[in-house]
Amino acid sequence: MSKHSLQRLTASPAVGVASRTLAAVFGGYALAACATTALALWLPAAPATAVITANLLSFLIYTVAVLWAFATRSAARAWVGILAPALMLAVLAWLGGAGNPF
């Protein structure tokens, strides 16, 4: 993290950090869950292989999302950078036939 971004972070410390933490923990999980579902449905392999590949990648995706949330310039960018791809992947999963997961 550059010195510049660190200063911006400390400019609005509590709110920014809390927002980034929420984006990292819950946004990151949502992104990982959507990615896992989309991959499990769309990977061109037998269902079991697709599922295991998706799961192998899921925690890597989560980790990258957490790092992104804290490394990017602003809390707003953290949210957009996580939710936008999550939404795209959710649509992809829905097109692939995923119903309501609950």
Binding site: C34, T36, P47, A50, I52, A54, S58, F70, G96, P101
Partner: protein, 522 residues
């Protein structure tokens, strides 16, 4: 990103430390369980063991629904007998596991070891704690694991000079030395740390990330597992009574077919006309094999001894599964021979040291910033929790082992009392550490654990026939190894004690807050 590393590390550091200590012990879970059951130590495998086990089950449960015999191997000198009685599950109070017994592999006598959870308690503690609802504990552990994964990756990013730092060690310099040892233990075993956290998450993927399999299969994870590990159901009903063939020729045939020693014999509907006997041998362990099963097996008709099927063992599995198996097998050291097992144990010790030094560094840095002023409540609390989670846990571990030797064998709920001793000792250490979150606290607890660990081999001499000076202990290397590790633990504790005692606290320096320096400065 340094602050992310610092705070995520501190917040879950204590839990991670407990997971690392108990998880490291789990590499020797079976050896610990054996050590904690002295009644089994005299068992010696013999070529007659299969026949003896066969006779024992024919006497004990001739009309069971199924039998399962685990023959002795390098890590366990006894034969494990299990059987499922042929009665509706409801009558058993819903017990699915059935009955079991341990057999002396040499004499065929059924043994009754003292009640103890052995190494299983420590193994289970490292991923589901104790006395907490299992599902909550597992989620908490997984959150801590995820934090550690984030701490590792952000730690690597923080340390741009990571490889240069790795070769830097400045001993005897307080905070600098803790930083250097934190870097060294982290980088040295970095692949191990990454593997152990990532595979830890994968092991719980059904709980943590079920969305892929829920979407791809009608009935979710059940469908996934049925697809990956198709289960063969045994015949629902036992046939008419009919004695079975002798097991010895079947064992010899399996051994000759696969050129491996026989490990396991299982029977569906023993002593009925539809009895099926499966004889499985050991296999060359491959690091990418699936976790369970896959051993070469011969399937026989129980009444006639006719060979029904030859299963050569593991089939080729797709690459993704091999990657998954690789990570999970590495986590569990399932493929490991003794040398590799020790190597993993040392990595686990290194991981413990990494977490511990990181937390000592946290305290050391903030103590230094005080420049001689009295440490505040928060700093004292962190230091107290550090003491309790490091020396306190190691002391509780030694007390757990000592309780195994000291509690009366006939004590009711004995295995729970061993666990209570573990937690009471830990609680005692926590109380002590919170009262003395300073140099004296460290000195007293280090002295206590040195004495406790050194006492274990002596206690063994006094209470068992399988101590360091006996042939039994050295015949089963695990037993002698356990006592040697106890002595090494004592030596390490003693060395740490010597270092802390010798180090004169300097105002505003050194890792340990000192109240007196504060009064002097005032």
């Amino acid at each position: 990103m340094a602050w992310l590393h610092t705070w995520s590390g501190l917040l879950l550091g204590w839990l991670l430390l407990a997971m690392f200590v108990t998880g490291t012990s789990a590499y020797f879970r079976e050896e610990i369980s054996l050590w904690m059951a002295p009644e089994l130590h005299h068992s010696q495998p013999s070529p007659d063991t299969p026949a003896l086990a066969w006779a024992a089950l024919n006497a004990k449960a001739p009309d069971a629904k199924s039998w399962d015999i685990q023959l002795p191997e390098a890590r366990s000198p006894v034969a494990q007998l299990r059987w499922q009685p042929d009665r509706p599950q409801a009558e058993d109070g819903g017990r699915r596991r059935g009955e079991q017994a341990v057999m002396d592999a040499g004499s065929g006598e059924l043994l009754s070891p003292r009640a103890s959870r052995g190494g299983d308690f420590l193994y289970r503690f490292h991923f589901e704690l104790y006395g907490v609802p299992r599902i909550w504990a597992r989620w908490l552990i997984c959150v801590a694991t995820m934090f550690m994964l984030v701490a590792i990756v952000s730690g690597v990013i923080t340390h741009k000079k990571i490889f240069k730092d790795f070769f830097t060690f400045r001993p005897g310099k307080g905070q600098r030395s803790w930083l250097d040892s934190h870097n060294a233990t982290a980088v040295l075993a970095l692949p191990f740390h990454f593997m152990i956290t990532y595979s830890g998450l994968l092991i719980f993927m059904v709980m943590l990330m079920p969305w892929g399999m829920n979407a791809a299969y009608e009935d979710g994870w059940r469908g996934f597992f049925q697809d990956v590990f198709p289960r063969e159901e045994p015949a629902a009903e036992g046939g008419a009574a009919m004695p079975m063939v002798d097991i010895v020729p079947l064992v010899a045939r399996a051994r000759d077919t696969f050129e491996q020693p026989v490990r396991r014999i299982s029977v569906d509907w023993p002593n009925r006309d539809n009895a099926v006997i499966r004889v499985s041998t050991a296999k060359d362990p491959h690091i990418t094999d699936q976790r369970r099963g896959g051993n070469p097996t011969l399937v026989f008709n129980g009444g006639t001894g006719e060979l029904l099927e030859t299963r050569p063992g593991d089939e080729a599995v797709p690459g993704a599964f091999r990657v998954y198996n690789l990570l999970v097998n590495l986590h569990l050291a399932r493929f490991a021979d003794p040398t590799v097992r020790w190597l993993f144990f040392l990595f686990g010790v290194g991981g413990t040291a990494m977490v511990a030094t990181g937390m000592l560094l946290w305290v050391s840095k903030r103590t230094q910033q005080l420049r001689g002023k009295a440490p505040g409540a928060a700093l004292r609390l962190v230091n107290g929790l550090n003491i309790a989670s490091l020396t306190g846990l190691l002391g509780a571990l030694a007390a757990y082992f000592a309780a195994n030797r000291l509690l009366p064998v006939e004590l009711a709920a004995r295995e729970s009392w061993e666990i209570r001793v573990f937690f009471l000792t830990w609680l005692l250490a926590l109380g002590h550490a919170l009262l003395r979150p300073d140099r004296r606290g460290w000195i007293e607890q280090l002295a206590a654990i040195t004495v406790l660990w050194a006492a274990l081999p002596l206690l063994n001499v006094a209470t068992t026939g399988s101590h360091l000076f006996s042939a039994t202990a050295w015949r089963t290397g695990a037993l002698a190894g356990f006592d040697v590790v106890c002595l090494l633990m004592a030596a390490t504790g003693g060395y740490a004690l010597w270092r802390v005692v010798r180090k004169q606290p300097v105002r505003g320096r050194g890792p340990l807050p000192q109240r007196r320096t504060a009064e002097d400065g005032a």
